[in-house]
Symmetry: C2
Subunit: 149 residues, 2 copies
């Protein structure tokens, strides 16, 4: 099978391939903890912003309010997170539970190993470059659809 010259230089295609490769390993690592990449990202963002509401979390992650609902419902059922009374009657204040935060620390360690393993074929400098370029691309995320501000 020949490679296709166009696909080689289509950013979206290469992103999708790399994403599946890296995310696949992350998924295997997270599964024993009952987590998925999306739930894991939500936990980290929550840890950095205790007490935030669901809409704010969605904006930070650049995902829809209804997608946040799903994640928090699951994380609450797993005792990672708690919905507390918010600053008014229509908002929730989201908090990591102490045990959830402890578990998250363990999970983060495991995920870092996965990340290192997956980026092993890059030099440290390449990895840093890649992260910077990805952030540039992803920073526009939600400026249209998910972050109507």
């Amino acid at each position: 099978m020949k490679q296709d010259g166009d696909l080689e230089t289509i950013l979206g295609y290469q992103l999708q391939r790399a994403n599946l490769e890296i995310t696949g390993d992350a998924r295997r690592v997270l599964a024993p903890f009952g987590l998925t990449p999306a739930k894991f990202a939500a936990l980290l963002m929550l840890r950095a912003n205790p007490g935030c509401d669901q809409t704010a979390l969605g904006r930070a992650l650049s995902i829809n309010r209804s997608s946040v609902m799903k994640l928090i419902n699951l994380l609450e059922a797993q005792q990672f997170v708690e919905r507390r009374a918010g600053r008014n009657l229509r908002t929730n204040a989201l908090h990591l539970l102490p045990d959830g935060e402890a578990r998250l620390t363990t999970v983060l360690r495991a995920l870092r190993e996965s990340d290192d393993r997956m980026s092993a074929r890059l030099t440290a400098a390449e990895r840093t470059t890649l992260l910077a370029l990805l952030r540039k691309l992803g920073s526009a995320r939600g400026r249209n659809s998910a972050l109507p501000i």
Copy 2:
């Protein structure tokens, strides 16, 4: 909302964000042609390898045989592609139809515009670097799961 320091340096998270951003625009561009990113990629790969069978296409795209089935069923219904008699009774030879190839040329032009628009916040050199790094990461794709060789 604060950013989370860990998420900033987790490759999988930044890949996912960038992927959603870039693929989202591609999806909007492809939709009027009845295509999605996955179907589009299959078409390009098929154009480069006329007459290949479904399993080979799956390997080239690093996706499962059953995923190829879905894509080809749709593309055949849309008259982009045809299953012809293969080199033996259990293989299909996949071929782009002439009109499908013509349409693909138009679509490719539109997608290139999307790709350029999305990578506009990178310099040409950065875009090249990014593609090279992504290919390094994605090249392992399927060596375990999807490409048992």
